[in-house]
Symmetry: C2
Subunit: 602 residues, 2 copies
């Protein structure tokens, strides 16, 4: 299938629309303001010198932060004018134009702070920053601003000279992947094959004999077509795998597609949290071994979740399987949106599935490595906030896709589509309610995704099921679907020692959590029968999703630290909120997985 | 009560006897040999100079390692001659005599390596090393070798001059407590009050305005009488609390005794593992907050368990309560003896309650802080091995105690007592069997401890219960006790998030564990009904304790990483071994706490 771009999609109502609007009204400016305060915008003026104490010294990944913000801002401008936003972009682009080196090189850090160290260290993010600038350039071209693309085309020429012709850099492929995605996008935006060839060069060089300092940390331990296990830094991995899938599509590369399928399977069937979060280990922000998914130490960077959405979308273009849109749904509603506060101004970099405040031990010998418990407005390494800007500004990219005379409905949210005579309208309260009404015109068939969480549904038309989609002949009359959306327990693979013997609560695609602020101290003392009872749902006005209350038990234990007497229990009401909105009411213990009462004795 | 010293006690049969013999035949020489190989013995010759590459550079805690070994060796010599062992001691003492400074100072590191840095840093263990040398001196005096005591008396004089008269050191009380215990022991061994006064000086100075660099890490955050929460380094804490209890007894200091009772309560009711292990945090080898008792990250240093036995024994002399002997029993059979391999030659410094080999993640950015999984023969910081030497050589110290015409039986093991006309014989297979036969002469009453784990027992005489002891009028005919010793589940306080919802298995004082080598991979998938069935016990010839087999279930989970379907279970036989002998058959996953099946649905 080919996904429709957000430019052809209008979000009309519901969660996608609300988050799009939050980004448009609040988050895009909040990130810009933090970047201005932190010197990231000023840095594009190239004024820093060691004696300028009035200026913040640039950092070698600042280009990428601002580039991602510009990309997101450009997407917003595609949909609606915003002179202020436009001026901010124009000013930055003007500085880039002014300060780009004669030879095409552009980097606000290396040109200003360490000009002698250009292309000296694979881990210094130069190609990563270039990639994000290229993606911004593509976005700006789409709104009639080709200047940045002209600059970046020169930069591509320089990179081609250094890496392909001269091989004069100390390395042959990026230490942090990203430019591969950007180059494929430059190719699809311009049709110029030189971009695709350079993307292929970096992807194909990676992990080969020629590649310098091969390391699983940045997925250069093996040639990419031989990789079948997700290893190393999770964001790097997602960006590489995404670019592999994009290149496989453009070049019909079966071997590359096979590697992508193996990596996809490893990530989503062995190394992913129920929230869709990935990269469980803080040491190196890494993947580890299968089923090593600690809840309280979970790293699960917001950017890794966004990267998984990119990977899934790229895979869906190679394989008409609903499982890709299923993962997009799982991670977007849970492990990605947890990265943004309800007020749209604060961000999580790490997204733990459990917080136990009492465990935050520290003494003069050090502290335990545990995720922070409140969202800050910015990080010194602030990659996630602008990634949320560009994701939400382009979230319309994930709703519809086109196959051979078939319109795929991948995500259910209030939206309309209009492109080349294909029209569609989706009316739904999803994910708060499972009924969806779809009206499509100018297309022979409609394929609706049967969500991964759904055990039972009704469609008012005949359909045939294939790889998670229900295919319906389109007579252009409304298609009415009703997905049963009960509150259900979900159980993990027993090999996940941190959630075995427990259950988590989901309703539709939304994973729920309990906070101490609603349920009292020691959430671990809560015990949930696997047959739910007393379930009540209520709309949470603040987040637009449903809150849940249900019967549970609480362990009563004042029998001495170790006792022959089994603990007793008292009934309690378990109050649950969507995982994505935890930590919006101050510091609190939180957990997603609850000890379950087994029915073995029945 | 007043505990009888091991010199009046003969161990005849059973666990205490077996471990005493293992130490006498194997461990005492194994530790000496490792210390010889590592240069610790040679260091007493004071031959090291920067240019002597043939010699190992001494470390500032080496005095204490060798002193603890000498103390243990002296205890063994008290019971039976051993010319080889005696010569090793005599040679070390001769070097000490020869190399002690004119002014009485003695330290194999500071005299040889950094003479200019004497008494400059509270954390450099000088007073700690002195204390262990003093304890060795007391032990040697008891076997007719007063030379070391004569040397150490000079050293005490020097310390008194520096700390009390001149106050010329950069600190006022030890950074690692221990000397306080040693000084009280010097006092009781010699009757010379100057030792007691110096002990009181260090204890009373601690944490006061005058004390330098006050820190909870070494329990100097508050004056000792104001301390009621166990904080900081757990071994330091145990040594301080022990000395506080000893001083309180010698000086009838009620305020000090009250502080000891509060600290005892905090340690044993809020900060102790079911094995009796204490000090859960590796960062600083520390106590943390109540109920923070992670199983896989448990630090629980062997020395801290031994220190808890010292503290308990000292408390028992202030308060005729069986709870002190209960804790000695809990920690000795479990969290202390786990520190020694079955062959008597290898040691654990840390004693985790859970091992998951797959979690041992490491990459170029670091590794997870988890305890090692196999016992080495020596550590660079090798405090635990000689502590085991001296503990086992004097384990007879814990069996009997004397009150006002009453003989207390604190530990049940094959043993005889003979001192000042009081005679006693204990015949039992304990802890493998609960029947105990006691014959006592020359004493009016016998008080037998009803163990903490015992719900039901029979005694063939009339008795009155008080603070965990059954008091029996002694007609000198055999007292026959039968403690019911079933295999039972034990439940933790629900505030311990790492064991809530789980159970552990105990029989008598012995805590059991499962190893993957007996039970297959993923011990977390095991599920144990709270009513045990199919229980079989069998003597483990290698360890002298009982092995257990019982019915359990194993979670079968191949339903995808997250599933609506609840896992299914298959019956399995759970094979358990005493916790203290884990990791004697190579690397293996291990766990003590098992998920339990609740009976709530009944």
């Amino acid at each position: 299938m080919k996904n429709y771009g957000f430019e052809s999609v209008n979000l009309t109502k519901g969660y996608f629309f609300d988050k799009y609007e939050l980004n448009r009204k609040i988050t895009i400016d909040a990130v810009y303001d933090r970047f201005a305060e932190s010197g990231r915008i000023e840095a594009f003026k190239f004024n820093w010198t060691p004696d300028r104490e009035d200026l913040k010294k640039p950092h070698f990944f600042w280009d990428s932060d601002v580039a991602k913000w510009m990309e997101g801002a450009a997407y917003l401008l595609k949909k609606a004018p915003n002179p202020e936003l436009e001026k901010k972009i124009d000013d930055i682009v003007a500085e880039i134009k002014k300060n780009q080196c004669e030879d095409g090189y552009f980097n606000i850090y290396f040109t200003v702070v360490e000009p002698e160290n250009r292309w000296k260290n694979r881990d210094w993010h130069e190609l990563y920053c270039a990639g994000h600038l290229f993606e911004a350039a593509v976005a700006l071209k789409e709104i009639g601003k080709p200047e940045l693309l002209e600059c970046m085309d020169k930069y591509v020429g320089h990179i081609h000279k250094v890496f392909v012709e001269e091989k004069s850099a100390t390395f042959n492929s990026p230490g942090h992947e990203e430019i591969e995605i950007a180059l494929v996008r430059l190719y699809t935006a311009t049709g110029n094959k030189k971009y695709l060839d350079l993307a292929a060069f970096f992807i194909n060089t990676r992990g080969t004999e020629e590649d310098a300092e091969r390391s699983s940390y940045n997925q250069s331990h093996l040639p990419v077509r031989e990789q079948d296990t997700a290893l190393g830094h999770s964001v790097r991995a997602m960006y590489l795998y995404t670019s592999m899938a994009m290149l496989a599509k453009e070049t019909n590369d079966e071997a590359l597609f096979t590697a992508c399928k193996n990596l996809w399977k490893d990530v989503t069937e062995r190394k992913m949290y129920v929230t869709g979060g990935i990269g469980s280990e803080a040491i190196g922000e890494c993947f580890t071994v299968p089923f090593d998914l600690s809840n309280d130490r979970a790293y699960t960077e917001t950017c890794a979740g966004i990267g998984l959405m990119f990977f899934a979308r790229a895979m869906s273009e190679l394989d008409n399987d609903a499982k890709y849109a299923d993962i997009i749904e799982r991670v977007f509603y849970n492990g990605v949106m947890s990265g943004l506060s309800l007020d749209g101004e604060k961000f999580f970099y790490e997204n733990p599935l459990e917080i136990n405040l009492f465990e935050r031990f520290e003494n003069r010998y050090g502290k335990r490595r545990l995720p922070i418990t409140q969202r800050p407005k910015i990080f010194s390494c602030s990659c996630c906030p602008p990634n949320i800007n560009r994701l939400l500004a382009s979230i319309g990219n994930y709703v519809f896709a086109k196959g051979d005379d078939v319109l795929y409905i991948n995500q259910y949210t209030g939206a309309t589509l209009s492109e080349n005579g294909v029209e569609c309208e989706v009316v739904t309260e999803y994910p708060n309610d499972g009924s969806v009404k779809i009206t499509a015109r100018g297309i022979g068939r409609v394929a609706v995704r049967i969500p991964f969480w759904c055990d039972s549904f009704k469609i008012n038309k005949a359909y045939t099921l294939d790889k998670g989609y229900a295919y319906i002949q389109n007579d252009e009359s409304p298609i009415e679907i009703d997905f049963d959306m009960p509150v259900v327990p979900v159980f993990s693979d027993a090999r996940i020692i941190h959630s075995v013997g427990k259950l988590c609560v989901m309703r539709g695609p939304v994973v729920y959590c309990a906070e101490a602020i609603d349920n009292g101290e020691n959430l671990h003392a809560l015990l949930v029968p696997e047959e739910f009872s007393g379930v009540k749902t209520e709309k949470c006005e603040k987040c637009g999703l449903m809150k849940i209350q249900m019967d549970a038990y609480r362990t009563v234990s004042e029998r001495g630290i170790y006792s022959r007497k089994a603990p007793t229990y008292e009934r309690t009401a378990l109050k649950l909120i969507p995982y994505s909105i935890f930590a919006n009411r101050g510091e609190s213990d939180m957990c997603v997985w609850f000890r379950r009462i087994y029915s073995l004795c029945k």
